[in-house]
Every structure is written in C-alpha cells, then in structure tokens.
Subunit: 342 residues, 2 copies
C-alpha cells in the first residue's frame, strides 16, 4: 500500500521533506537557519536589494490534477515565481512553500512535487528554506514565496516606459492558452499530454536568466512577465508608466503549432497571443536605438527570439491594435480575473 | 446591496487594498517597491540577519467564520506569524498576504481583514508589501509570509537548550484551548463570544516585544512560541537540542478562568496547558542563574509573568511530568497534527 499523508502525520511529512531537501537540494552558504525552527534566517548580500514575490495555485482552478503529474505541478508553481523575480532582473535565492494538502494524498506524490520545485531552483543555486503544511478539506493549494536579489538600483520596474519606446516580447506568448484549449476541446484524449502546446501549458519555462541579462544592460525602461496574457501585462506597464501603446497586428509572433491548433479549434491565433495565457515570457520596453542590443542579448543568453511588436504612445491613448489595412482598433486588456465568471 | 468581490474583480480588489494600505498602513523607508509590480523590493539593514516565516489559516479548520469577525481573523493570522519572528528574538518588518477567496465574499469584509493585519503590524512600523489574490472554490485560506530582522548572530534558536537549564514559560498557555472547548461545548451560545477565554482563542496576543527583549539579554539558550501547545513545543526544543525535560506538575500556571472553564467542562486544567493550544506564549530555557534576570525583563517589558516550570535533563530521558507525590510520569508531546483524525 503506498503511504498516505494521514499515515505519517504532519511532523512525519516534514521530516521526509527535510531529508529530501538535504539529499537533493542545494545548500546556500548565506542561510544561517533552514527548516526546523520558528523562522528561517539568512544574511543578505551587501549592495543588493531583496525581491519578494508570492503566487499560489489552487486545484481545479489553476490546474487539473488528472492532467498534470506532481513533479510538473511543482515545476510549474515554482516557475511562475521565478519568472516574477526574473522580470525584475533579479536572481532567485530562497523559497518558502506553503501547502494545503488532503490527508488521503500520497507521501510519494508530495515528494515528487518537491523534486519539481528543486528542478527549477537548483540551476540557480537557490534553496527551500521554510514553509508551512496544513490540511485542506477541499482541494489542494500551493503557495510559493520566493525571495531574490538584484544589484541595488538595477531592478527593472513596470513604471519606466516612455512615449516612443519600442515594445519587445520574447518567444510566443499564447502557446499555453492554445495548449489549454486543446485539452478542454478533447479532455479524454490522453495522447494530447505529449502535444508540444499542452507541454508548454503544463510545464512552462521562465525567462529569468534572460531577464537578469537584460537588466544588466541598463537598456530596459520597463519589464514584466506575461502571466496575465500579453495585453493584460502590457496594460499593467501602461497603467504603472502612465502611457498608451500601439501594437502592430502583423508583427505578432505566432508559432507553427499555435497556428495549427488555432485552425483545428476554429480560433484566431492572434487572440491566443493577446488574451489570457500562462506563458511566462517577457514584455520589455526600451528606446528604439537599443532594440538591436537587446535582441543580441536574447540570442546570446539563451537563443531567445525578441520580436518588436509596437510602440509606447502618449498618455491617455490606451492600447490600440493597428491592422494590416491601417485600421486602428482600441483593445482592452482582457486579463485573467480570478473572481470572474470563467 | 453590499459590494461583493465578484462585482469589483481581482484588479478592482487589488486597487481597493492598495488604497486602504496607503491610508491606514505604515510606510517603511527601506521599501524600494511595494504592491503593484512583479515583486516587492527592499534594502536590508547592514549588520542584521533576515528572518522569514509563513503560516496559513484554512476556513473550517483553523477558524469557524461564524465565530470570528474578519477584523479579528486578520489579527489572528498576523499574530501567529509575528509570534514566530518574536520567538527568534526578531522584529517584524514586511508581510506578504496570499488569499484564496470566494467570489461571493464582501469587499468590506476583505478590507476589514486587512485592517486586522494592520492592527498587528502598525505598532512595529511594519508594512504589507505584496501578496497574491486568487479564487478558492471551497473555503477561504489566508497565507501570511512575514519577514523580520534580528541583529546578526543574536537570533535565539530551538537548538541551544543544555542539561540543567531552567524552563520558563510566559503567561498561561492553555487558555486558547479552554476557549475553543467552551465554544464547541455550547456552539449556540452567542454570549460566549465575550468570554475572556473565547476572546483569547479568537484574538490571541503574541509576545514578540518580550522575545526581542529576551534575545537582547543573551541569556536565553533556546526559545519557541507555543503554537503547537506547551508539550508539543517543548518537544521541538528537546528534539532540536538533543535533550530531555522534566516538568513539575505543581508549577504549571493555570489562570482563574481556565480553572473555572475546566470545572464546567469536566476537564483537567493541566491538560489544557500541556495539550494543543494556540496561545502564542513563549517557552524559554536559560541557565538557572539567569532566571531572575529574565523574569525582571518580563515584568519590565510588558508586565509578563514568567513561570519556571521545570528543568532540561540529559539526552534520551524524554519529557517527564513530576507529580506532587513524587511520581514521575513520562509524557509524549501530543501536538496538533493537521492530517490527524481531529
């Protein structure tokens, strides 16, 4: 019989997690106290600001447990937080994991989820230094708090975009949305789990190394990750910077598999790009003369494609989509609302 | 009609919370970036270690929404985290609040919960710098991450207790447990909400200022807060320090109201002290010659009673209760297990 959480109890489970982290995790030298006291503690590095973010995933809302393995679930929950640190130009350091679990869950599944967390943290030399476990009667939740660092004054905010700035985007936002729609379209098709778009939805990548490299250039005037979908996140930049934006429809990057999926689903591939999608790509603004340099950084750092999709416009103009025929269509950010009717 | 979360949406709710924090919260000068970007950021203070803890509360598990106001719920969720920082001898600085909410909840109730958080943070000049909001289909959850600081090398751990050390405890652990039992005993008695023990259960205090003052003396060899109940938390000290402990039954501090409640409920008042109870008092160990000094610190800092309840014993002896007739009874920490059958 596979062991259940209810069999080992809270403190038994904590011991198992501590052992796993000691064996498979990274030991950070600046951590003075890890799991097993009232708090964790660490010594910050002089000359660096600390970055803190938290993001949670709720069963049946952010993921469907029958479509994702515990390992991938752990990776995905950590990726969304690493992406936030990266979008500031920072480097992840320490994570705290707060879990709401059901007593009938398997201990082995929880361990696999921690292996997923570590798969994303270890490459940065980052470690799990604390957390909380509790029972949750209905549906699991994972809440990750991630602490990172960035050289003092070098963090790239949402608020620095200025009129005339170029708008760049990495990769192909919208692929995760297309993957999710494929799953919802054919929920019984097990082969779909191997579809490249479904894989992107289940185990998205982040651009944290690229975000850090871009911040080092000092050229980015604003940066954000696309966790609310391209328009939603560009909307955050516009709101915080007090500017408008113009997107050229013909410049929107669409991958071959997204185009095929859109055809199959009878959807507009650009809608996947513009609408809500959990891709964790980056939206970056910079002066037009720095576009070339940032594209080179993308290529050198990780072979990433940076596409120039539009310009920052004057305050009050909102976001507009410029169609190939020259028509200008105002668009509203339609980002994911956790309390909406979806 | 009172406004519901579903009416204002996620971003509407975030704006409301930002406004409330700007009006009623504290502005910390070392925070370089608060709510409204991919991450928050702050500049750590040279010569200080950072402390991090997180603790979550799940509806119907850690609290019953019909017995607690949103304001008190916010206070209680923050208190448990402040208590952890205090039990290290630290000072709270910054909080991140991750909430799982239901769309039908009232915006005004969420605002009241934030006022509860601030009621606990403001006295420290501590502020809320970030968080996450998400929908939660079944039952709400509150996950607080709290960052604090302590002068480098001055944090008091669980692992420093040595054979012969005195064991001190603040206040009257067990009062919260007695309050909870009163509620469960007469669930329909609305007047109970004004009972002093029920108030302690619903809005417990922390001992963070005292914890900081005790850490400054350098006399405490180990310290922990009693969130798992006295025996459970003494058990954590014994495990991490590799020692045993002897508790003198006749020294156990029992308040008048706990004694009366125990009589009414037909329970042993010492069982409330030893068993699980959410009191957030402190258990402190020190060399016997420092007991007097620490008791004076307790009296001067906040009029707190510190009772010497026993001694740390040799490794391998476990925890024993010494009865008034001299009988020695081994006791096992029976602390709260979130996956147990309770």
């Amino acid at each position: 019989m596979p062991e259940k959480i209810g069999d080992v109890g809270e403190f038994g489970l904590i011991r198992r997690i501590k052992d796993l982290l000691a064996r498979e995790g990274v030991k950070s030298e600046r951590v003075s106290l890890g799991i097993g006291d009232d708090t964790a503690s660490f010594l910050p590095r002089p000359g660096y600001e600390l970055l803190v973010t938290c993001d949670s995933m709720v069963e049946d809302r952010h993921y469907l447990s029958r479509y994702i393995t515990p390992f991938d679930l752990g990776r995905r929950a950590m990726t969304s937080n690493i992406s936030d640190i990266g979008a500031m130009g920072g480097k992840p350091l320490y994570a705290l994991i707060s879990l709401g679990l059901k007593a009938e869950m398997l201990v082995g599944d929880v361990e696999e989820m921690y292996r997923g967390f570590l798969a994303e943290l270890n490459p940065f030399g980052a470690s799990i230094i604390g957390g909380n476990l509790t029972g949750s009667g209905n549906g699991m939740f994972i809440d990750v708090t991630l602490i990172g660092e960035v050289r003092e004054g070098r963090g790239v905010r949402r608020s620095g975009a200025r009129e005339g700035d170029a708008i760049l985007v990495t990769g192909y936002p919208g692929q995760a949305a297309a993957g999710l729609q494929l799953l919802l379209h054919s929920p019984e098709d097990a082969a779909l789990l191997h579809h490249p778009l479904v894989k992107i939805y289940n185990t998205p990548s982040h651009r944290a190394q690229l975000g850090e490299a871009i911040a080092r250039t000092g050229y980015a005037t604003a940066m954000i990750d696309t966790s609310d979908g391209f328009l939603g996140d560009l909307g955050h930049i516009c709101e915080e910077s007090g500017v408008g934006a113009e997107i050229l429809d013909e410049k929107i990057p669409v991958s071959k598999s997204t185009r095929e999926a859109a055809l199959l689903l009878g959807r507009d591939p650009h809608a996947f790009f513009l609408g809500e999608s959990d891709d964790y790509e980056l939206v970056i603004t910079c002066r037009p003369e720095h576009v070339g340099s940032l594209r080179s950084v993308g290529a050198e750092c990780c072979g990433a494609l940076l596409t120039e999709v539009g310009r920052i416009t004057a305050p009050g103009l909102g976001i507009a989509l410029v169609l190939p025929n020259g028509e200008i269509r105002p668009v509203k950010p339609l980002s994911w609302d956790h309390f909406g009717s979806t």
